[in-house]
Each structure stands twice: as structure tokens, then as C-alpha cells.
């Protein structure tokens, strides 16, 4: 009765940021994961967390007591691949073109969308996505903090602001050109098969087209490539708008095991705590013993001072309102 019922092993839940602008989730980090799961035909529930905008754990995928956070092992998609949940990239891992396109999207295009959302446009779209469910003072402070962080990360200062902006847009333009050439008239970027590359690029494209304002420079650069726009809209209709399958109505037989496989090369499975663990196992006992020892010493001193110094039985309380002063 006391235990919460654990979720059934088959059900996956994806937790992302809020839906907005006609997209199931408007955050450029979360949308690729959503699309990836859709492309892999993995049934899942969709839930939202709209009070933790500065978390790098979101998006995450959970199932029972298994959780794949975005700040571990190179991201949710990589983690799902490693744990054998879903893998669309098995054929492409050693294709150099695929790898370099992936690197280009994860660096140049990721920087471009980050710049455009927080600095390039007036930040209104970003505010709506991340802070609309937070009380105003908190939202405002976190927004300003995030703008500052983005500028730091992109290396933008007052002096080089224009130069950096030009550089970011130039690189985005080159990337769009390359991707457009690569795509041609196919359905997917490589071998006409979906991969995580499509998920990542599609996520970027949809956010650029739907979330950024019409005055956005990045958006206009993307609109120059018709085939990309067609590709984005087609896949959106096919995978995102095709029935609200996020309610997990049908369960396809997924060729992946429900319980994640053990991977011996999981050396990065707990990047934060593993180095700490070796250190604290020995030190923990020592620290605990030292704490008890010091605590006992302090207690003995206090007891000696208080008990040996006499004990006041009963409290003398003066009550201001209680004018018990009687004059005889």
C-alpha cells in the first residue's frame, strides 16, 4: 500500500518542454528526441516539465526505474542507442559523410538556433517556450541569466558582436547549402532511411520555420532552400501530426528489449558520480567517524557546562499582556 506502483516495463515516457507554435514541443533540444522516437516507431507517452527551464537533464526518457538523461553519455539519443532501446544509426556509424554532417549540425546549426532564439530575435519566442509557466520575477531573472550564458558560450562580447553574428549566419548558410545538396529530392538525408541525423536536422528546421519570428535572418536563409522546407513539412505531417499517437494507443513489436542491455563499455554511464564514488568510499567512513568523535566531544563539553553549572527548573516567563503586578 505504501509503495508507488512502478511503471510497466514496456511503457516509455518522454519528458520535454512545453508544446507551442503548433509543435509538440517547441524547445530545439527536445524536438529532435521526439522526432527520433517517432521515426523509430517507438510508442511513448509525452509529458511536460515547464518549471525547470535551466535544467540540462531535460529531455529525458524514462521507463520504470530506467532513465536516460540528456546530460549523460552524449545525450538521450546516444544513451538509447547504447542501452539498446532504439538505434537507427547502425548502418551509418562508419560513413564519413554521415559523421561530418552530424558534426556540422551539432555545432554550426545548434549554435545558430541558440543565437537566433536568445540573442538574434528579441527573445520573445524563447521566453514563451521556457518561462511562460513560471511566475514573472523568476522567469525574468532566469531569462536574463540564460541570455548571458548563451553569449558566454558563443563568445559574444560588445566588441565582436557583429562579427560573431555574421560568422554564425555564414556558417548556417553553408550548412543549409550542404544539407540541401545532400538531401536532393529524397525522403531522408542518407540512403532514404531515417537516422538520428534526420531527427536532429528536422528538429532544427521545424523550430526555425515555426518558432522564430518572420523577421529572423536565419529563417529567411532556410527558406531559400525549397527542398528542405518541403522535407520538413512532409515529415512533420507524416510523423508528428499523424494522429496523436503520443497517447500510446498502439504497441508495435519493437525489436529492442524492454530492459536495457548491460554494456561493458559503459565507462561513461555515471560521469558525475563515478570519479566521486572511488574517492568517498574510503573517506566516507573516516569522515563519519570523525564527525561522531567531534560531536561527542562537543556534547561532553556542553553537558559539563550546563549540568554541572546548575539546572533551572521551570521557566520564568514574563508576559507583557499579563499585568499580574499587584500592589498591596
Amino acid at each position: 500500500m505504501e509503495q508507488m506502483q512502478a511503471r510497466e516495463a514496456e511503457e516509455f515516457t518522454l519528458v520535454t518542454r512545453k508544446p507551442y507554435f503548433d509543435l509538440p514541443t517547441a524547445c530545439p533540444l527536445c524536438l529532435p528526441v521526439y522526432i527520433y522516437l517517432k521515426l523509430a516507431h517507438l510508442p511513448f507517452h509525452l509529458e511536460f516539465n515547464s518549471v525547470y527551464p535551466d535544467s540540462d537533464q531535460i529531455p529525458y526518457v524514462e521507463s520504470g526505474t530506467y532513465v536516460a538523461y540528456n546530460n549523460e553519455n552524449g545525450g538521450v539519443i546516444e544513451r538509447l542507442k547504447q542501452d539498446g532501446v532504439v538505434d537507427l544509426d547502425s548502418a551509418f556509424q562508419s560513413v564519413p559523410d554521415w559523421i561530418s554532417m552530424k558534426a556540422m549540425i551539432s555545432s554550426w546549426l545548434a549554435d545558430a538556433i541558440m543565437y537566433e532564439l536568445w540573442v538574434g530575435s528579441d527573445g520573445r519566442s524563447a521566453y514563451k517556450i521556457y518561462y511562460s509557466d513560471l511566475s514573472w520575477p523568476i522567469g525574468k531573472v532566469l531569462f536574463l541569466k540564460q541570455v548571458y550564458i548563451v553569449k558566454q558560450r558563443l563568445g559574444i562580447t560588445k566588441d565582436n558582436a557583429e562579427q560573431r553574428e555574421d560568422e554564425i549566419y555564414k556558417r548556417a548558410k553553408i550548412a543549409y547549402g550542404a544539407l540541401s545538396t545532400r538531401l536532393g529530392e529524397q525522403n531522408f538525408l542518407f540512403d532514404d532511411r531515417p537516422s538520428s541525423l534526420d531527427a536532429t536536422f528536422l528538429g532544427h528546421a521545424l523550430v526555425t520555420l515555426h518558432v522564430l519570428p518572420e523577421t529572423s535572418v536565419l529563417r529567411s536563409k532556410l527558406l531559400e532552400h525549397d527542398n528542405i522546407v518541403r522535407y520538413a513539412e512532409k515529415l512533420k505531417m507524416e510523423f508528428i501530426e499523424s494522429g496523436s499517437s503520443s497517447s500510446g494507443a498502439q504497441f508495435h513489436s519493437v525489436p529492442s528489449s524492454s530492459a536495457p542491455r548491460k554494456d561493458s563499455s559503459n565507462w561513461r554511464s555515471k560521469p558525475k558520480s563515478k570519479p566521486k564514488r572511488e574517492k568517498t568510499d574510503e573517506e566516507k567512513t573516516f569522515k563519519r567517524r570523525a564527525k561522531y568523535f567531534l560531536g561527542a566531544q562537543l556534547l561532553a563539553v556542553l553537558l559539563f557546562l550546563s549540568v554541572m553549572g546548575g539546572y533551572d527548573s521551570g521557566d520564568m516567563e514574563f508576559d507583557d499582556d499579563d499585568e499580574g503586578f499587584t500592589y498591596d
Binding site: 505504501e2 509503495q3 516539465n49 518549471v51 526505474t65 554511464s269 549540568v307 498591596d328
Partner: protein, 539 residues
Amino acid sequence: MSNPDPKPDSTPPNSKPDPERPKPFKTNDIEEEEEDEDDESELEDDENQSDDVFGEPNRPKPQAREARFRAEKLKMDSLLQRMQSGPVSLRVHDVIIKGNTKTKDHIIEAETEELKSVGSMQELLKASQLVNLRLQALEVFDSVKITLDSGPPELPGTANVIIEVVETASPLSGQIGAYTKAEARSSTVEGSLKYKNPFGYGDLWDGSLAYGCDHSAEVSAGLYLPRFKGLVTPVTARAFLLSQDWLKFSSYKERSLGLSLGLFSTTHHDVAYNLAWRMLTDPSQMSSRSIRRQLGHNLLSSLKYTFKFDRRNSTLRPTRGYAFVSTTQIGGLAPDSRSLRFLRQEFDLRYAVPLGFYRAALNFGISGGVVFPWGNGFLSRPSSLPERFFLGGNISPVCTVGGPTALWGFKTRGLGPTEPRRQVNDENADPSGVDFLGGDLAVTALADLSFDLPFRWFREKGIHAHVFACTGNVAKLTENEYRNFSVQKFVDSLRSSVGVGLVVPTSLFRMELNYCYILKKFDHDRAKTGFWLTFSGAS
């Protein structure tokens, strides 16, 4: 102005006209003689007067001195007789304040309201006593002297009250102590620095650092204003940065930055407003599902009302009397619907019955609490994690009056609904534990029999023994769980423990060394049968 010739019938004793004797005759000194009857010594404490009424070596000849002595004694005797026979009608003409260089006059005058309305000598003495204590309670004066002087000669039957204050020479003071605040869930050790009266409004500024046994740390700065724009009771404001680490129990860390305002505070009632920005994070990334859903930022804007009625004879060792405390907290008092909305109610009832032998007493107590969110769809929403009830910890439930918190034998947050933590595929991973989620409804009850030990040394030190039994439970009601709730199930799953122990009350805290035996617990509860050391602050 002073009347040189004292009229024994209508005017009170007056100040000496002789400039050689600058010290005026004080009615405080009358009380010095009456101390034996009334046992009032407060006025004397701060005056550091060691000389009596007639003291002070003087220049006049011994015979003249003796004559004066006799005359004054006669005067006083007659006055005393008059006062004992009936009220000596008198009213206060003027209140003169001296000695305040920094402190604003109106602060001192605000404490002297009673003096304006006295009608007799007796009332005047009583009121002077009260005013003296009030001024001392402001904590900004080193000494307070109240002198009663006769009024202007053209107005018979009047008196002037002269208040001489000496402001604190060293406005900075430090303090270290151990407390158990009502809001805190365990004892804290606190070090604070106080700066008294920098602006002359009787304002007390303090900065403090507190570390609590429940892994909490707090840095705060506060202000205490005795009179703020005509409000009846003092106003306190406190800005704080509080951080609590619950990683071991519930896999989250809580950090709060906020402001709390004490709006109204008397013996029985207390109203406080709290505005805070609260962040729940999980740096360990091991939390269970319910905890994960609660992580994030929240704005807390709440009003808390506490009603306290404590008629026990002692808080460290109650042997007689009863106490009742009720705390109501409403969150979400902001125009923004996105702030945290909840309603929290807790109550606590204690009763102590003396048994007559060996100073034995039976203490009974029952406490309960409930928390619920409000607003749209409140039935299916979860309650906010830090507002829930968690039972267990190193506090003695006999002394802490303030809602259900402690059960002997159960560790901090050691019982209630649990959820398994995240499982990680790692060769070195420890078996994943559980997170304690707390509950929306909590009830505890206790019975404690305390008695003196037959050894004189123990009795002198106040060390005594006790035998106790307690029971408690926590349940979830939100997220539609109230549909599955039944009183029968709740009662069936009550945890309980019994034990015996030694109580050592000291001036700083009450320590108990107990042997607890767990009668009933559930699988994941963190409880152990064995020796326990608990602490409670001397609240």
C-alpha cells in the same frame, strides 16, 4: 519645576531643591522599602544603585542630616499610610525623556502610553514599572531610570515623569545558541551578530548563520522594528538564503531565497508572510519518478497564522497543564496564478497530568496535519514536495509542539510512502534505494511517563527517566489517491514504538538517551530497535 516645600497632603514626594544634592528623590526608592512586600526588583536591577534613599555622604553637619532624615521618614510614612488606605489621586502632566541622543523620541513615547491615563499614585507606580520593562525589552538601552517628580506648582495633584535612558555603548553584539524553531524540522545551531539601533528607531539588525541537524544551512539578515507606522505589535523582516540537502532521503536538494515578514505577534497569535523563490534540484540524478516531476523553480507566497496556547508549567519537563497549537498556511497569495497554491493545516494538543510521587507526570499528545493544493484541477494535482509531512528524526516529540514531526525510533524521513529510485546499469552500482515521498495526511500520538530517579544527584541536576510509547502514520491523498483512502487502512498501517530512557535537561537543550523498541514498521521504513540520542531545543 519642583516644589520646595513638600505638602504631605496632596503632593507626592518631590525632588530636592538643594543644588548641592543633585540627585532627586525617587519613588523607586520608596519601592525599595516595599520590596519585601511586593518582590519587585526589576526597577532596581538596571539602576546599579547601591546607595539607599538616605545614602550619600554629605557636607551638612550630622545633626542637620539626622533632622532631615527624620523629616523625610515622616513624610514617607505618611505617604505610605495614605497610599495604603486608598488611592491617592494624581495625574501625569508631562513625560520628559532624557538621555536619548540617537533614539527618536516617539519610539520611547510610544511605550509610555499608559502613563497618560493614570489616575492615582498606585496606578502611576504600576505603569512606571511596565514602561520600564517595555523600554528594556527594546534591547537598545543599557539602563532605564524612571523618576517621578511633582508637576508645576500651579497645577496641584500632578506629577511629571522623567525617563532617563542610557543608550547601549556597544551596538554590536554576538550570540551563539541552539534552537528549535517552529518552522524548522529539527534543532539548529545558530550564530548571529546584532547591530542595535543604528537609525534611532529602536531597530535591531541582525545577520545570522544557522546550521541544522537536518542537513540545512541558512544565511539570513533580519530587522526588528518595535514601532512601524502605528502598528500595534513589532514588525520583523527577514531575508534569507536557505539550503537543505535531502539527497540521502528523497534525492533532492532544496534552495530557497526569500523574505519573511512577521506582521503580527502576541503571546497567542502570530501572523507571518513569506515570499520565496524555491528551487528543487537533483544533482545526483538518481531520484524516483515522483521526485523528478517536482524538480524546478517555484514562487512561494504564503501567509501563515499560528495560534498557540501553552499552559504547561515547563517546556523542558512538563508535569502539569495543557497546550494547543494550530498552524494554518495558505500559499498562492499572489496575483500570479503560477505561484505555488496550497493549504496546510496542522494542530498539536498536549496534556500533562501530575501523579504526585517522585515528581512523576503523564504526558499525552496528539498531533495531525493535512496539506492540499487548491486551484483548477486540484484533486488530481500532486502536493508540493517540501510542504508535505515527513515523520521521523532525532527530535523528542514530548517537547516540540508544532505539528506531527517526530517518532521515537524512526530515522529522519523514515516512514511513509516510498518509490524506487533510478536504476543504473553499472557494475559498481549499489542496489538502488528508495525515495521517501512524504504524505498529505499525517497523524502522531504519544504517551510519556516521566519520573525522578531515586538518586539525589540526579534529582539535583534535573536528570530524570521516562517510559514512552508513540504511534504515527503518513498517507497520500492527492493525485486522486483520496479515493483509495480509508480510515481503517490508515489505522491498520500505524507504526508504533515503545521505549525507556534518561532525560538530561540542560540550559541549552534537552537531551534524551533512549532505548527504543519498534513494535510495528513496514518494509522500507528506516527504523531500528536500539539506543537513540535525541535533542530538543529549550523553546
